[in-house]
């Protein structure tokens, strides 16, 4: 049950209410009809017994007189009497029967063609000497009552169903409105805006209490995140200062080194220290990007031009390392609303990754593709690639792959690209380019900003 969506649950509830209502209506009708039939039966039984008591045998003449008396006494004329022989021949009566009725109680309908009667009940008794006494009464006013009753019951239950379904849908709308509002908050927080909160209307309802609890949880998370970020900052700061001193000492020792071996070792040590400092720099940068504050400085810029500049910038480095860097730029102008410097950093990281992790002779292609309401920055190489199972690891922090351990780099390049893409409400994906790796940075774009497809 708990896995059903709300809409289905509401529909099921409505169905249950309808079934219960209809069952109650039918039950009431049946019971009412039975009660009325019992009342009518009791009356015709009394009338029949007033003509002749049970087990008494009276002469026909007495019976005829009593019937005539009773018929006269009744100004309502709603009780009919017929005294007949058992061969069907009537001796006396105030109504005419067109068919023989069975002994005991039976229903009469308009099919019996009794004058002025459409619905009724009859009691047929044997009164001795081959005679039968039939007593009958109309149930027409009661039938009318029945149809009114059906009308009342139907109307009543229809309004109950209307009220219930209306209530359900109003209730559903209130809940879905709340959920939508909460969803917006959650989306904003996923986007990195930790200041967003769910609106509380102050009515103190359960939903309000839940919203308040949700907000308290967000406050708590924000506090924890701030303290983690402070700790990160403090660690980075406290470690970077002695590291910088260490680096200065190493650089000095390296410059003054007497022999080639010492000089070589010190040069390697310098590279290691630079690596560590770069790692701290990258950690602080990721923290800055993930904070989302940089959105305040978003401006429109031409992504196609930036890609071209980056390709031109990196062409010498690629050449130096024996790679071929190619730009495939069919789009002249792709305006993106964002942080140009950060997007540049993202593209640079992707290009540097491609250069760093592929052997000489690899072709690296840079291109832009327009997608639905987005633009894709693609850096693709035809190198050895990364196994699909390792793609997730490559994108995670410090997620350096075994093959890359020996090379420089600190495993924070791709996470930073991902952070930059997320800041722009985009994403980074790795795809097997068969052969090689295709890194895709998807950035959402306002429609109509892509121009000049050649």
């Amino acid at each position: 049950m708990k896995r059903l969506p709300l809409r289905t649950l509401a529909a099921l509830l409505l169905l249950a209410v309808i079934i219960a209502s209809v069952a109650t209506a039918i039950g009431t009708l049946i019971v009412t009809r039975a009660t009325i039939a019992r009342l009518v039966d009791r009356r015709i039984t009394e009338e029949s017994l007033s003509i002749v008591e049970a087990d008494r045998i009276l002469p026909t003449s007495v019976l005829i007189r009593r019937i005539e008396d009773a018929a006269r006494r009744r100004d309502t004329g709603d009780i009919g009497f017929v005294l007949a022989r058992d061969d069907g021949r009537a001796l006396v009566g105030n109504v005419v029967l067109h068919r023989p009725l069975p002994l005991g109680y039976s229903n009469l309908t308009s099919g019996d063609r009794i004058e002025g009667l459409t619905h009724g009940r009859a009691l047929v008794r044997a009164v001795g000497e081959g005679r039968v006494l039939t007593t009958l009464a109309e149930t027409e006013p009661i039938q009318d009552l029945n149809s009114i009753r059906v009308l009342i019951v139907t109307g009543g239950f229809a309004s109950v169903i209307l009220i219930v379904s209306g209530g359900l849908s109003a209730f559903g709308r209130i809940i879905s409105h709340r959920i939508t509002r909460m969803q917006r908050t959650v989306d904003a927080i996923i986007d990195g805006d930790m200041s967003e909160r769910v609106l509380v209307d102050g009515l103190g309802s359960e939903l309000d209490q839940q919203a308040q609890a949700f907000n308290r949880m967000l406050d708590r998370i924000a506090t924890l995140m701030a303290s983690i970020s402070n700790v990160t900052h403090d660690i980075a700061h406290d470690l970077r200062t002695p590291l910088a001193r260490l680096r200065a000492l190493l650089a000095l020792a390296h410059r003054e080194a007497g022999d080639a071996q010492t000089s070589d070792r010190l040069a390697k040590a310098l590279v290691e220290v630079d690596q560590i400092l770069a790692m701290f720099g990258a950690i602080l940068r990721i923290a800055e990007v993930e904070g989302g504050n940089r959105r305040a400085g978003f401006k429109p810029f031409n992504l196609a031009a930036l890609l071209e500049e980056t390709a031109a910038l990196y062409e010498p480095l690629a050449e130096e390392e024996g790679h071929l860097l190619l730009l495939d730029a069919p789009m002249q102008e792709v305006m993106l609303h964002g942080d140009r410097q950060l997007v540049a950093q993202g593209i640079i990281n992707l290009v540097e990754n491609a250069i760093r992790h592929t052997p000489a002779g690899t072709r690296i292609q840079l291109r832009l593709e327009s997608a639905k309401a987005a633009v894709r920055v693609i850096v693709e190489d035809d190198g050895p690639g990364i196994a699909t199972s390792q793609h997730g690891k490559a994108l995670s922090r410090f997620g350096r792959l075994e093959e890359a351990r020996g090379s420089d780099g600190h495993g924070l390049g791709l996470p930073l690209v991902e952070g930059i893409a997320r800041l722009h409400r985009g994403a980074v994906t790795l795809v097997d380019a068969e052969p090689g790796l295709r890194a895709v940075m998807t950035l959402p774009i306002a429609p109509g900003l892509v121009k000049g497809r050649a």
Binding site: R240, T241, R245, A251, P316, L317, A344
Partner: protein
Amino acid sequence: MNLLIVEDDRSLAAYLSAELRSCGHEVVVAVDGHAGLRAVLDRKFDAIVLDRMMPHIDGLSMVRTLREDGITTPVIMVTALGQSADRIDGLDGGADDYVVKPVDVDELNARLHALVRGRAWMQSDSDTISAKDVTVSPTRMRAWYRGIALDLPKTEFNLLAELVRNADSVLTRKMLYEKVWQFEGEPAAKLVDAYVSRLRRRISAQVGDDPIVTIRGLGYMVRA
């Protein structure tokens, strides 16, 4: 050089002053903005190393006050945050350059030299800059080495011009990256190396050798 360090963190101030003294500078330390302003009014400095975050008067207000009073002493801002918005604020406020904590003394020293020499060059009216065998004309985008005109692409030309402008000062990769490419972000050390070796190959191919000296563990330099 005659330097003023304004830094409220006494241990960092002591470390910086000791290191900069060992580089051959004369150093005065002020522990807050008020003391810093008093020191500036007292005597003339070649450059000021100014912490951005200080109690009372922070670095940003201090540099603004200096500039409003017409004091143009070069200022290097020391910022702990390392965030771009702060860097831009620092430069807007009238600072000439910035370094991010933790301070690498070699980097700071290189920047101080570059800053003071850059000022000296800007004050001369000449269109060309020269260093020993190299002459560069930034307005005409022309360069000569040992009297031979060089044919250089734009980036390589800018790189050479920056080195010549700061002749006899070491330019770190970070400084070159910021000045030549004006790209924000982590310095792509290998990128600068790639361009420098391209530049050297180009000049060597045209002249036979090149004027660029690699200072290992630090950066590049052209001798005056």
